[in-house]
Symmetry: C2
Subunit: 235 residues, 2 copies
């Protein structure tokens, strides 16, 4: 006969925290909120929340992201679970961290204001509460690894973008400079971009062609086992 509960064991508070990446003005940025409750009120923090009884971890992450940005169906990937006994001074809490990639143009700025949230360049992140800095470092490492063999970069850009923009994004992620010709060759050889006829003229007189990511071409490739897109891009 099956028991009703595993009664004798500890039940623990489970949090979900989101490391939210965006890309704006040629810089990789992080979305942080100013905590409006104790402890550490007024300090900067990742957006988070507690896991509800009737939602999965993934759903909780989606909910938290939507609460802050109004966005749904966002690129969201589980990062790691942080479980040190004293990581939260109030009460023993484990936190499952997720990282998200969003297009900074499309989120709801009103919601951001309500949560006293703002964007920080990845290299000028303020002091954060608890172990959130560790989470951010770990997420950045993961994003770098991921971007080096899957085309996740597109998630951070609007639907249509130029190749120079995409290059700036990768340069920002890897904090390095890339050769224009090699970068274009590599990206185009992936054959997951669709070139449009439109040109974007905000950055130059000549204008740069807009491209669109084609998820069908991409998934076809992945299903064929071509899982490595960039063969090498700084680890």
């Amino acid at each position: 006969m099956a028991p009703e509960r595993y009664k004798e064991y500890e039940h623990i508070l489970v949090a979900v925290d989101c490391i939210i990446f965006g890309f704006h003005k040629n810089e990789l940025k992080l979305l942080l909120i100013k905590r409006d409750f104790e402890p550490e009120k007024g300090k900067w923090s990742l957006m988070g929340g507690f896991l509800d009884d009737d939602e999965s971890l993934d759903e909780a992450a989606q909910r938290i992201l939507k609460t802050l940005t109004g966005l749904h169906d966002i690129y969201l990937d589980q990062l790691h679970s942080f479980g040190d006994v004293d990581r939260d001074p109030v009460e023993r809490t484990i936190s499952v961290a997720y990282y998200a990639l969003i297009d900074v143009e499309t989120h709801d700025k009103e919601l951001l204001k309500q949560h006293s949230a703002s964007w920080f360049p990845i290299h000028s992140v303020p002091e954060l509460i608890f172990d959130h800095e560790e989470m951010v470092l770990s997420a950045l490492k993961r994003l770098r690894r991921k971007a080096s063999h899957q085309p996740v970069g597109f998630e951070l850009l609007p639907e249509k973008f130029t190749l120079p923009e995409l290059q700036k994004l990768y340069e920002s992620i890897y904090d390095t400079n890339l050769d224009k010709r090699n970068f274009r060759r590599r990206i185009l050889s992936m054959d997951v971009l669709e070139k449009t006829e439109e040109k974007q003229k905000t950055n130059s007189r000549k204008g740069a062609f807009l491209y669109r990511f084609d998820p069908k071409k991409y998934s076809r490739k992945v299903n064929n086992g071509d899982s490595l897109i960039f063969k090498t891009l700084k680890p």
Copy 2:
């Protein structure tokens, strides 16, 4: 004033499950236990346990591994947290999965008997409870990725091992055949192995030299940023 607890939120049962890999008779194996309590009594399962209030996630994983194998200071890496609402039919439980690499020769066989545990070839794993099969698949994928750029393979072998043994291990992990000459060249070019004068004659009349992994050489390399050991090895 800081609150004493985040009272209003759900407290949830947190489990830690271990995917334990070993290598024996040229095959990658998995250590499973036969469940001796309901639900699913008699079915095969990963070794697991519940997180205690006074231990971190990593400590819980170490404890669980030690309970089953008697081993401590084992290679153990957090894999992923599984949080579907109905993954455990008894009670809502999230599980943080870890995978471990152990040398099958050194573990405590008596403890294994006590837990009705046994080793299964990775390709003949029986039906498992809950979402444990998903965990195993995910761990195997992770092991493959990890082994392709960090020398974790050594964790699965005794202190001294021959190159043909090591090759068999990698062949088993990737379920493929590797060219002897290329494999040796690649492994030796990593410069993290120390050749001993001893020969092992159990597998051939000629005998094969025994090698030892040198963690000092390895950590020196990693600290120098040479993080990719195998540049490419099937993804």
